[in-house]
Symmetry: C2
Subunit: 228 residues, 2 copies
DNA sequence: AGAATAGTGATCGTATACGATTTCGTACCT
DNA sequence: AGGTACGAAATCGTATACGATCACTATTCT
């Protein structure tokens, strides 16, 4: 019926994946990550089903999958809401992310070649440019690109998956809990450069892991200092 | 005739939780972890539904949740099978587990009090006893108990969750891929004792993390040496 | 005989319908 | 006036039915 009733969110049914469960999963996930559905938002199965032009069964399945990823909380006979209102969750997520990102960086480091480092460095310089004009969205996106380059050859897909899940959680939290910390951005860029140098020089895994971990921890500390 | 069919509904095995999705989830998960459903086992929705006395919809949902946890692989219009036939998966899982267990141990260490250490040590001594009579099942169970004591006060639930997921994956793999390595058991017990001493003496987080990580890595190495 | 193809059975995918549970508003009682 | 009990609306939970897709087999053409 209401095929394109949802405007402003173009790609919902055209999601290349075959099954409607998959479409629903991708659609809801995208809305959470991009901030359309903010933490605490009530996800009513029937409404989402109607918006997406599918039945409730595939939507229900999608919600459950999102629950398994920690993006949604689900209560029997009550309903689903977008997770992540609690600042404590932010702390847990950042801590976990510091660990898995550290490991992912250390594992990837030996496999990063010259061109990849050059690409990462270019992205980082773009980030440095961003510092002048206040643009948190762009900065965050570039930050993710930077780390994506570092991880693209990570030999352990499980760890990479954990990193992506952490990023998704953060994206969901960002819109409400997390606020861009201006004073932190410069340090972040410097640490990136630092990390690249370590990788270039073939530093040992332990050093790289520690540096990557602290890079994430520093962001957490900055957040804590700001909210105090 | 079938109007009062409700009275004759057979028990859903050992299920306990409320919704049937949950029951199906727990039931299938238990069968995978305990080894009734071995890797490669074909999970036909309709058969499982019939076995459990429920419809296919909740079973389908349960399977998808298990897929998200990595215990099941699912292919559209083909079916679901118990995951984990690939030895490479074993490697990935062990590597990931070494990282998250290491972090969990380091985070928990400062919170482990005297009685807990005593309990862990008692379990470890039981494991030492096991070395004489060949009993891999009991050994594995005690090993899990040992680490559970260490982690029971882990301040970050996300990390703890990752540990448990890893354990579940291993349990699913164990029955086929993994074989008990007799020569490794003694080393494992020694490392446990080592770990306890470190914790008792208040060693710094880095040392403990590294020790815990190597404890897991050593098992992986032993497996690799054996299969060569 | 070998390969391509059409037919058949099995299994998944989703829509619809109905039942179960919770929540919230309203009226009643104390 | 405050609290409690009842009832209606909303929402989730699951069974059933039917359609779509895939694997496998038998048949036919070259």
């Amino acid at each position: 019926m209401t095929e394109t009733a949802v405007t402003g969110v173009p790609e919902l049914s055209d999601a290349s994946a075959g099954s409607k469960s998959e479409q629903a999963y991708q659609a809801v996930k995208a809305r959470i990550v991009e901030g359309t559905f903010t933490p605490g938002y009530r996800l009513v199965l029937s409404i989402i089903a109607k918006d997406l032009g599918v039945s409730v069964v595939p939507v229900r399945e999608a919600i459950r999958r999102l629950e398994a990823e920690g993006l949604v909380t689900f209560e029997r006979n009550v309903g689903a809401t977008v997770a992540g209102i609690d600042p404590t969750e932010y702390l847990y997520t950042m801590q976990t992310l510091s660990i898995v990102e550290g490991a992912a960086t250390a594992l990837s480091a030996p496999l990063i070649d010259g061109p990849a480092i050059a690409r990462a460095r270019a992205i980082n310089e773009e980030m440095r440019d961003c510092l002048g004009h206040f643009d948190p969205v762009r900065f965050t996106r570039l930050n993710q690109d930077f780390h994506s380059v570092l991880f693209e050859h990570c030999p352990n897909p499980h760890i990479l998956d954990l990193v992506h899940r952490g990023w998704n959680r953060l994206a969901a939290l960002r819109s409400s809990t997390f606020r861009f910390v201006p004073g932190r951005a410069l340090g972040s860029v410097e640490e990136h450069e630092n990390l690249l140098t370590l990788i270039e020089n073939g530093a040992d895994a332990d050093t790289i892991e520690k540096a990557a971990r602290q890079h994430r921890t520093a962001t957490l500390d900055a957040y804590l200092a700001q909210t105090r």
